[in-house]
């Protein structure tokens, strides 16, 4: 537990829906609804799920681009201390809970502010989905990549240029590209610029929000290989959000499958692909088109769409689309439980039988 870089506990993010004459809050979109997630240093955790399941919101909340409604995010905290605070928070003693609340101010990313938060922002970065929209069209490449350096005052003004050149070199661009605007680049090159910008502050953790979904296959391969190389070189930790399962399989060590704001299943990549336990994971995996005409597999075709997160189904959130539904699934919400006592976890009432 001591090597966890990020420890997310019971994270919730609700967006209010207002209505009526006074624009009162009448409901919540429960985008993320109680997620526990731990990431180790140097690993790549793939977060998969359909659109609208809350994977991007979860990522952005961990980065504090969105402030969570509830829950704790520990970043780079000592594991023992985290456990201690968590124990105090859940203790029956009101005084202990109050003390834990005070301690959280300095530990919980969600409660930090000012200088602490700014310092932490250095260590967490993001690469967005569509590089066309995430790069300012009026800024030169050198200013785009230098922006985090100047904002965080990390290097002296006269050293900025050298550092920008170095960063461009790392992602496979040259000094010729410095004085150009984003529109002069192809999609793959733009994504390289975005990656260089994310690397500028020497982060420990980078959130990859579908970094290759806007790219063509041949370019996607280039970017994936680059990301893999960078991860080894700089000992980076990635949270890789995507809906493309074969990409996740290629790049991640572990996978978390999300469905409607909660984690349905998580575990090491190879194990999940070899032996999916949750019916949703099974359907998801069987739906991947495999680029090989010789293998014809039996597909599990799910009916219907992802339900509305304003009013998620009672019990197991997947039950209206699940083929193995039982009475208990309709009423009791399954908790994420460990399968083998280790990190393989699943939230399903019937995983043992299926």
């Amino acid at each position: 537990m001591h090597e966890n870089l990020i420890d997310v506990r019971d994270l919730k993010k609700y967006y209010p829906v207002t209505g009526g004459v006074f624009r009162r809050r009448i409901a919540d979109v429960k985008a993320v609804d109680g997620v526990d997630l731990a990431m180790r240093k140097g690993e790549c955790l793939g977060l998969v799920g359909e659109s609208g399941c809350g994977k991007t919101t979860l990522g952005k909340t961990i980065l504090r681009l969105q402030t969570a409604t509830a829950g704790r995010i520990y970043f780079g905290q000592d594991g023992g201390k985290v456990e201690e605070v968590e124990a105090m928070l859940h203790s029956a003693d009101a005084q202990a809970r109050a003390r834990a609340g005070a301690m959280l101010k300095g530990m919980d990313l969600n409660r930090m502010s000012g200088r602490n938060l700014l310092a932490l922002r250095q260590r967490i970065q993001i690469v967005f989905q569509d590089p066309t929209n995430s790069l300012d069209p009026r800024m030169l490449v050198k200013h785009i990549v230098a922006e985090p350096l100047t904002a965080q005052r990390l290097v002296k003004t006269r050293d900025v240029d050298a550092r920008v050149r170095e960063l461009l070199g790392i992602v496979g661009l040259t000094a010729d590209h410095l004085m150009r605007y984003p529109h002069e680049f192809s999609g793959g090159q733009r994504q390289r610029i975005a990656i260089a910008r994310a690397l500028a502050t020497n982060p420990q953790f980078i959130l990859m929000d579908e970094p290759t979904s806007a790219l063509d296959v041949s370019v996607q391969a280039q970017i994936l290989n680059l990301l893999k190389r960078l991860q080894e070189e700089f000992r980076l930790t990635y949270l890789f959000v995507t809906h493309h399962l074969l990409v996740v399989k290629y790049i991640s060590n572990r996978i978390a499958v999300m469905y409607l704001g909660r984690i349905a299943e998580m575990g090491p990549t190879a194990e999940i692909f070899a032996r999916p336990l949750h019916p949703y994971t099974k359907a998801l995996l069987s739906a991947i088109p495999v680029p090989d005409p010789e293998t014809k597999r039996e597909k599990i075709i799910l009916t219907g769409d992802v339900p509305n997160p304003i009013n998620p189904p009672a019990g197991c959130r997947f039950h209206p689309r699940c083929a193995h539904v039982r009475e208990i699934c309709r009423t009791v919400e399954p908790q994420l439980e460990s399968v083998d006592g280790g990190e393989r976890k699943v939230a399903c009432h019937r995983w043992r039988e299926l």
Binding site: V217, S218, V219, I301, L302, D305
Partner: protein, 438 residues
Amino acid sequence: MGTLTLAETQDLHTNFYTFEGVVRALNGVNVVVQQGETYGLVGESGCGKSVTVRSMMRIVQAPGRIDSGRIVLFLNDQERARGIEIVQRTETYMESIRGSDISMIFQEPGAALNPVLSVLEQVKESYQFHRMEQMIEETLAAMDAERSRRRRGSLRGAGAVIQAALLRKELAATRRFDERVRRIDNELYQLETSSDTRSEERKADLNRSRDHARPRTGIVAVARRIPFLRRYRRRLDATVRAHVVELLRTLGIPNPENIVQRYPHELSGGMAQRIVIAIALACHPTLLIADEPTSNLDVTIQAQIVELIKELKRTIISSVLFITHDLGLVAEVCDRVTVMYAGDVSETATVRELFRNPLHPYAVGLLASVPKAEQAEELAMIPGAVPNLIAPPTGCRFHPRCPRRMDICVREKPDTVEHTPGHWVACHLYTGKDGGHA
């Protein structure tokens, strides 16, 4: 399986005349869709897949233009001999086959549907445009059945008699119109191959009269303007609506009576895509063109849509032209496939053959760069990016990125050769012209 051709393009050049220059989007594209097959068109964005099929539908938008080449359709037995060349045909002719004989599923259901029209209004258009005769006949039959059930002489019966009379008038007008158009089309078809001045003039005449042909409805046109008499249309609308609901039901849309009243923004992505498919399928086309039908959908929804298209292929449609950039989908759906690159056809083969034995260096690179289910080693990649088609590379358009480039590749566009039976490739490695390695 027979190998009857259904549609083919011959040396198609489509260019876009933009401010920056002429974008040479298609550089002599030859594709052949056979009857009864699912034919795939793969390639990266900007390789001309969409432009190819848009040319085949003749819906290339300005500033684009089909500059040369032929597109030949073999839609029925009579035309089997040499097919209809559609680049020269008029827009009204295209309107009569679009949606009826060939139809298209567009990429983005959000953009393909009109946000201010309900689902019913959008789907029923095809029936009203192409199947009017059938609709009126069915309405009349329904009214006959109803009258025989009712007592004679009731006042409502009298209204029904007037309505039926008007419908019959309209039916006759529609039939006369269809007959006239059919005659013109036949004559045009006879004249297609001859090109002396007299027949050219006759062709121009025929095209003009086809463009201006309208069903002559006479009294019906007057009746449509009178509120009380206009009611006969309601009967017709009910028939069309029943057809739409039935169609949606066969496409596996739950609760179609309710869905037809909704507007596109009320539908989820998968549902909206099903509506787009419904519009394309309304008249049971011979050729269905699916332009990246699943590119913005989730994998589970994608699986539903793909399964639906496969099912429809078995039951309703003859051939499917399936465009995608996802090689996984190609492997799953298609029989034969063409790989395109920068406006050129690189390679055409059966799916099995292409995946087992790709010949063109681009096809080889493309297949290697896709993450597989068992991906052990590092992903292979193709260096560089797709070229700008305003100033495309000389010779083979792939040469700047090609790992096996030779001198000749820079100078000459490779011919397409049949390497093994049914496996066509356009690459100097296989044309027999040796240029020596660069």
